[in-house]
């Protein structure tokens, strides 16, 4: 029994490490090739270490523009999504109203719709409505597909919120707005933040939907796909590394914050 247990333990260890390596190897490769001192056009074989790409990060001007577009679009669409999504989440989590069932259904439909379908239908909507495709249509599209995620995370918090908390605030003299600002919003904040992060992450790397509605505006993912044929410059790896680094920092910060809260 003991030998079998030990063997099982070892297998579990090996399996766990295999999964970790499998999950992190693409990230490791991305980071590594940001330091590749490549001489040829393609950045696929290791040719030595350099920090050159970090100093020449913004030397490819249209890539820089694409990254800036992506960050602006992600920021703007996240703000809009969080505001609308939080309101929707509260409405669906707290109140019974005519159309609540239909709205709930639409929220799930938006999550389960294939991106190709969403992109194609948005494009035909914009074309038939004579809407010029640019950063604005990208923002509209991104709000559309991230909205449901904010609604779902916020609604989960609202459902778990004791309604007498808000009544207590009213009872103690707070106005409706004061109650929302001082009691409701702080209580559902973890849900709002989770939704915001999801929405930002979804926006920053979206290719499929964006490619339908971008017009002549180029985003970071679109630029990369366009560069595949000619070879992806190491600056892309560096930018990817930096975005990943920021993500890791946020994850650590939220872990620390939740540990302090507990």
């Amino acid at each position: 029994m003991r030998t079998r247990g030990r063997l099982g333990d070892r297998l579990l260890h090996a399996y766990t490490w295999l999964i970790i390596v499998w999950l992190s190897s693409p990230i490791a490769v991305m980071i590594l090739f940001g330091f590749n001192d490549k001489k040829s056009k393609s950045n696929t074989t290791w040719q030595g270490f350099t920090l050159r790409w970090y100093t020449e990060l913004f030397d490819i001007s249209d890539l820089t523009v694409a990254l800036r577009n992506t960050l602006v679009i992600a920021l703007v669409s996240t703000v809009i999504t969080v505001v609308i999504g939080t309101m929707l989440g509260i409405a669906l989590g707290r109140h019974r109203f005519r159309g609540a069932g239909a709205t709930n259904f639409l929220v799930f439909a938006a999550i389960s719709t294939p991106e190709l379908v969403m992109g194609a239908s948005l494009l035909s909507l914009f074309v038939s409505g004579n809407v010029p495709r640019d950063a604005n249509t990208i923002i509209i599209a991104h709000v559309l597909f991230s909205l449901s995620f904010v609604v779902v995370t916020v609604r989960a918090r609202v459902v778990g919120l004791d309604p007498s908390l808000e009544e207590a605030a009213r009872d103690l003299g707070a106005t409706a707005w004061g109650t929302f600002r001082q009691v409701t919003l702080p209580s559902i904040m973890p849900g709002v933040l989770a939704g915001a992060m999801l929405s930002f992450a979804l926006s920053i790397d979206d290719y499929v939907v964006t490619s339908f509605v971008n017009g002549s505006t180029v985003t970071f993912p679109l630029w990369i796909v366009g560069a595949v044929k000619t070879g992806i410059p190491p600056q892309v790896n560096v930018m990817g590394t930096l975005i990943f680094g920021v993500g890791v920092l946020i994850a650590i910060a939220s872990a620390v914050a939740s540990r302090r809260r507990a």
Partner: protein, 358 residues
Amino acid sequence: MTGLNAIELEDVVKEYLSHGEVVQAVKGVTLDIAEGEFFSLLGPSGCGKTTTMRMIAGFEEPTKGLVKLHGQDVTNVPPNKRDVNMVFQSYALFPHMSVWDNVAFGLKQKKTPQDEIKRRVGEMLEIVDLTGREKRRPREMSGGQQQRVALARALVNRPRALLLDEPLGALDLKLRQAMQIELKRIQREVGITFVYVTHDQSEALTMSDRIAVMNDGLVEQLASPREIYERPATGFVAGFIGTSNLLTGTAVGGVLKVGDSRVLVPGHDGDVTVTVRPEKIAIGTEEPAPEMSVVRGTVTEVVYLGTYNSYAVRLSDSTDGTVITVFQQNAHDATATAERGDSVWLSWQARHSYVIGS
């Protein structure tokens, strides 16, 4: 004291729409609650006591009737503009705020000057014995402490009345008894009207100046605890408050007579229901004096309960097999007066039985 009542309800009705049907939760309640009074709304769950309280707080709008605070009609005034505060059953403490910020919340809403907030919150925390725990979060405190924070948070605003919705329901028995005494002390200290909602009759009896016993959306009886216990107005009140014996029959000339039994009901004739408390009844094997109400029966059960014995006695002169409960204090020795199967006389003074309905 000022002549005005703290709270007045005038024929208040509350109807809900439930699955397309109109349900009356409160069917016309009229109450006057005096300034500084400890007033309880007592009744089983679903009797409308909580809805009544929520209408006083302003969380529910009455379908009909008036709610007055200190003589002023507040029927359509929102809760944040009413001069009453509530202690919630779940306490409803703000989890993201410290004890201090919880207690200061109401004063901050009213834009009270900082130094006054500091002084009043400090004083209030002292009254509820929580000085030194200002920085704690609610979840870091015990149930009893959370209870006291909730109390302080409401009382610091010096409301015209404090509404308490089953505030001790979540506490264990020992703590509940301690908090009952604590609540009475705090009420005496701050001198504010307390309206207390509970389904626990012993809690209501110990703490209240007056009790409104509610059932099915109506007030069955509104009186002092003594009055309600000693002279229940209806069969429901008699049954809900403590243990009660009910005897029914036809009275002739102020006496309900069946066989050897005679229950004195002076001034009543015809079909009557009489109630008598178990501790008022004496149990014995010899025929009692003629001025007493007397029934005969057979002991079917004797239960030793520490401070007293409880006897179940089946009446021999009753056709429907009525069983009377008798409590006998263990004052002298622990031996029972009668054993199971004994034939006994039960007797009580005429003033201890009440006719509650004809």
